[in-house]
Each structure stands twice: as C-alpha cells, then as structure tokens.
Amino acid sequence: MEENKIYEKEHTINENYRQKPKVAVYVCHCGGNISDVVDVKKVAEELSKYHDVAISREYAFMCSSTGQDYIVEDIQKNGINRVVIAACSPALHELTFRGALQRAGLNPYLYEHVNIREQVSWVHKNDKEGATKKAISLVKAGVEKVLRQDPLNSIRVEAVKTVAVIGGGVSGMRAALSVAKNGLNAVIIEKSDKLGGKLNRSGNVYPTGEKAISVAENLSKEVLSSDKIKVYFNSEITFVSGYVGNFQINVKRKNGEYEKIKAGAIIIATGFDNYKPYEGEYGYGLNKFVLTLPEFIEALEKSGPGKFNYNGKDINSVSFIHCVGSRQIDGIDKPGKNGKINEYCSRVCCTSLINTANNLKTKYPDVEVFDIYTDIRTYGMDHESYYKEASKNDVIFFRRPLEERPSVEFDGAKIKIKTKDVLTMNEDMEIETDMVVLGVGMVPNDITDLVEYMKLPKSSDGFLQEVHPKLRPVEVANNGIFIAGTAQGPMDILESLQASNTAAVKAAALLASGDIPLDPFVAVVDEDKCTGCEKCPKECSYSGALTMIEKEVNGKKKKVAYVNAALCKGCGACAAVCEPRAINVAGWSLDQFDAMVEAIAKE
C-alpha cells in the first residue's frame, strides 16, 4: 500500500537542552488549595538543594499569566532548560505549561507535571507533615524524570480528505451528510441494496410522529443527490488496513468485483440488532400471537381500518412485556449464545413500546392494552408525555418485581399471562389476552470481522467502546476511527443523529488541514543499542506498528526494530521485553521510572 508522508513538526528552537541540565521547579499554592495543607515554602526550599535544580520557587497561581511569565523569563534569562511544576492534575494545565515552554523557545516536552493537589493536599488534609514530605518526594521524582527526558517533536501525517462511513442507516446517512457539509468527501459502504437500515421498518417515530420510512427516504434522497457523497451498495468489507489519515478499506461488491477505498478517517455506523427471544421465552416461537415489538410494529402498520386483524384473528386485547433481553439477571435469565446475559438497560424500549401502545390505541381505540413493566424509563425530553398519554388511553399497567418474570401460558386459543403486581401489594394477577408483544432490547450487531480488522475496543456489553463517555464520547482508542449511533450502545434516533453529527465534525476537524498531529508518545528505537533479537515485534498487537528492518547503523548493516509512528499506540508492551532497553515509549522510558522510584523510595 502506498503510504502517506509522515514527518515531525520541529518544536525545538532553543538548543540549550543539550547543555548541562538547569532545572526550574515551581510549586503552586493554588490559592490555598495546596498551600493550606502542603508547606509549599518547605517544598521549594528542599528542592532548591536538590541536584541539577537551578531555580526553585513557589507562587500563588502558576497557571496565571504572571505565573507563566516566571517560567518564560527563567528560560529566556536564566538559561533554564528543563521545568517541573508541582500543581493541580496535569489534566487541567499540562498543555498550559507546555505552551509557556514553547513561547519561551524551549521544547514543550522538557517538562514534568507533578500533581500535589488531587493526589496530595486534597487527600491528606489531616496530615500536613506527611503531605509535605510526600510532595517533596514526588517533586524530586519529577526532577529525576525530566532530567532523563528527551525533547520530542509532534508527529504529523498527511491525510486523505475523505471520510468512510460504514453503514447506511440513519446514523451513517446523517454522518455522511454532516461530513459533506463540512466540505469533505464521504463514502458510505452499505451491505444491502438500500439506505435507511432499520428505519425502513420502524413505524412512526417519536417525538415528531413522522413515518420512519419517509424520514429514511428524505435522508436517502439528500445523500444520493450530494456530489460529495458516494454510496457503495451491496458491499462487504473484506479488510481494513492503514492508519489515521491513510486508511484503506477493501470492499467486495455483489458483482464479485473488488474496490479499494481510501479514507483519512472512518466512522462506524453499523447500528444494532434486535434481541431475538429464544424459543419458549414468554411463549415466543410456540404461538404465532407472541410477537417481538418490531414484528408488532410491522403488523400494526399493515393492518387495515376497522378491527385489528392479525393472522385471521380479530385482536381485542394486547399485552406488552418490557425488558425482554435486557436488564437480565444472572441465575434468573438464560444466557445467550455467547454465554452472557444482557445486564444493561436498553434505554429506548420503554418509550418505543409505550409510543407503539399509544399508536395502537389511536388506530384501534377499542383494543384493551396491558403493560407489564419493572420500571418505566421514558427518559428523554418530553418522553414522559407518552407515559401520561398511555395512562389517559386507559393502558393498564402492572409492575412486576425486579427478580420475577411473568409467565405466558396457552390454553387452546387463549393466552394467559400470570404476574405479580407490585402496585397492588404483590397480588398475583392473571391477564387473558389475544396477543403478547415482547419489548425486546437492542443488542450489538455482529461486526466481528470489522472488530478484528480494525482492532476495535468493545465494552463488556459487546457494543463498541468510546475512549471516555464524557470527554471523548465518539472516539475509540484507535486514532481516526469514530463511532456514530447504536454501534456504541442503545440510543434512540435523536441521540443517534446527535452522535453522528459529533462523529462527523470530529472526523472533518481531524482532516480539515490536510495533515494530522499525532501524540509523540510512541515507541522509539535506539539503533545503537538494538541487538536485533526480534523479541519486541512479537509483543506488539498492532499490525505493522513494529517490524524488523535491515539498516546501516554506524557503517555496518544490521537488523533493527523499526516503529511506524502512525500505527504505534504507545502502550510500551515492547519495552518490557527489551533487555538492553533499546526500545522505549518516548517520554515514558524505563530509565525515567527507575529513577523516579529511587527518589520516592529514599527517605
């Protein structure tokens, strides 16, 4: 595969880091947050006596412009070439201080951030002496680390300005449209011959009451008329290779032809599957009048005016059962084919089920409706109104205990549901009904191949897992790959659309400038030390990230480890097996950690 250019963005302006180390230590008071517990003066004083420390100060707010000016001035006027700041969590101000170093002309990575707030003053407020002693040790460890720190340069990789969207359902279409609106090209790879996915079979959708199929058709028209979106129908992905900015997706078309699609980023919008009840679960598969919710929605759509007729029988009463295949309990519910139960709440089924019950009552007001639930979780904006409307529509609710399951029994043509009802002090109830509708939850779609090709992380529920639910909600750990919609977990159409837009904007922002910055914290090889033993590539889980190459080193040809910086994730698994310590994660070397532990262990 043709590789795009990878290059480093040179940060280092000032070369004085090559000279004798002159470390500056700054201890922040954080306006009392730290200094009320930690004796910051003592910390600064102790550090001023530590080897290679040229300046040691304490200041009220190091993150303020005055605090940052101290850093800049000390670097520019006092020849400081390494910096340690003891303050709050690095999550808050690591980038702030890196910026100060950069403004002063020093490589921004010649800096170590020591957390003495969240992990010292806030947790040891009743032990001021111990907190101060701990802070001194941690700052000394920080000095040891920064003394062994090499200047690092951001890695940048040229990017293909196309986003590949896998899946042409509502999430995929929305993501592609949003990518196009952001000025990039999108390619949708859809396995079927039609866009819209499950929306094509979803009845009418809350909260607008629109026909789902018309929503699908409108989006589909917009997608197909966009000159920035190309759709591959009937296409199966056979392999994915490459890395952020430069992915290649191999696709097999229905006609047997193969295509290679190049993309700078990938949005996975593969959607969900409906939980399929096993035979006999609440009578499913044993009686044609026990349906899943999607099957019922389809039946209701097809049924004509007058009486509700299904399979030749007039339906006068329908009973809905919630939480089928979700909120399962170990020891009570039967595990699925994967041996696991679905402990999660599928979130959207309550509203979907009650919306359907209301649609049924609107179309056939005389049909009696029973609703057997554990908890009603109509959680979205204005969704509670569906619940209230159902009550007004005379839907009769029974609340079953969490750990008990209703039974569905057949007596000739009659169906009987037996359940305990919490609302009537656990009274045993028997409901005679013409039809049972199972509120099945969402389960992950089978995307085993994609997970394998792209090494995608999955949560314990089996859905794709984001890096952080709040801070990085649509990103997976693999750079350049985003998730849109229900591939990530149960969500309704509105939430899927929001997630899709977010994923699209993230992907567009990533590719907008034509090249992509990568974290410099990837494995680096000291070719002089490398013995070519070939142990490290075996430890690497990322295909192509770490290989052995023949290379001339110091005039001699030798076999050395080679890291593809765009593919390396920086986990360090390779470093652990390298006896001569020839391979390390930049900025996190074993020599640094040994020295830190030594500083901590000392009295």
């Binding site: 040891h124 032990d127 952080h468 698994a573």
Partner: protein, 127 residues
C-alpha cells in the same frame, strides 16, 4: 521511622483520573502512598518490580485499566507478566501480597480506597 511506602502505578486512561476523583471527592488515605502514571503498566519488565522492592518500596499496587484498557492485548500480557513477577518473588522470599494487580476505573473511588487499605495491612510489618 517513616511508614512503609506504597507505590501505586496508575494508567493515564483509567486509574490516574480515578485517583483524581478520590481527591475531588475530598476522601482521604495515607500519605505513604506514591502515585505514578504510565500509558500502561505492561511496559514494565519483571525486574522493575523486584528492583522497586529492593530499593525499599514496601508494597506496589498496579491499578490497570482492565477490560477498559484501550491497548489491544495489553491487559492479558500484563497479567502474564505479573504471574512471572510472583514466581520471582517466591524464589526471593518476598511476600507476594506486597504486589497487587487490580483494575480501577475513572470513577472507582471506593475500590481505590479499599485497595490502599488492603495494602496498608500487608505492608505494616515490612521494613
């Protein structure tokens, strides 16, 4: 004499933010605990732990990201490596309870405190 020192190895993705969450909740634990952060503890070879004990660290808690680990295969490799460390510790007559591999998430405050409390009991007779 100072209290035995506990080294806590945290991950950038999970347990380091988890340790911050403990601070943000103003919960408390002993000041003989020293937190370092790494991309993933899988980077440490077996002898790193042995050296740390030899230098005077009384107990080590590895707070990994477990099943939330963003690095493919890293947790499995780490588990195997720690098993090797236990074997070396046995050979060297180092109490294996002084090293604990556990999983701490970004919000696992109670679990974080419990791990420290458990390790405090182990290390009180070390040194």
């Amino acid at each position: 004499m100072s209290k035995p020192k506990i080294l806590i190895i945290t991950t950038n993705h999970s347990s380091y933010p988890g340790a911050n969450a403990v601070g943000q909740a103003r919960l408390s634990y002993g000041s003989n605990t020293y937190i370092i952060r790494v991309p993933d503890p899988v980077m440490f070879p077996e002898d790193f732990y042995i050296r740390a004990f030899e230098k005077g660290i009384a107990g080590i808690i590895i707070m990994s990201s477990g099943s939330d680990c963003p690095y493919e295969g890293a947790y499995e490799r780490l588990s195997k490596r720690i098993q090797n460390v236990y074997n070396i510790m046995k050979q060297k007559n180092i109490n294996i309870n002084r090293l604990k591999l556990t999983t701490i998430c970004t919000v696992c405050k109670e679990a974080f405190l419990k791990e420290i409390s458990d390790m405090e009991k182990v290390v009180q007779n070390v040194n």
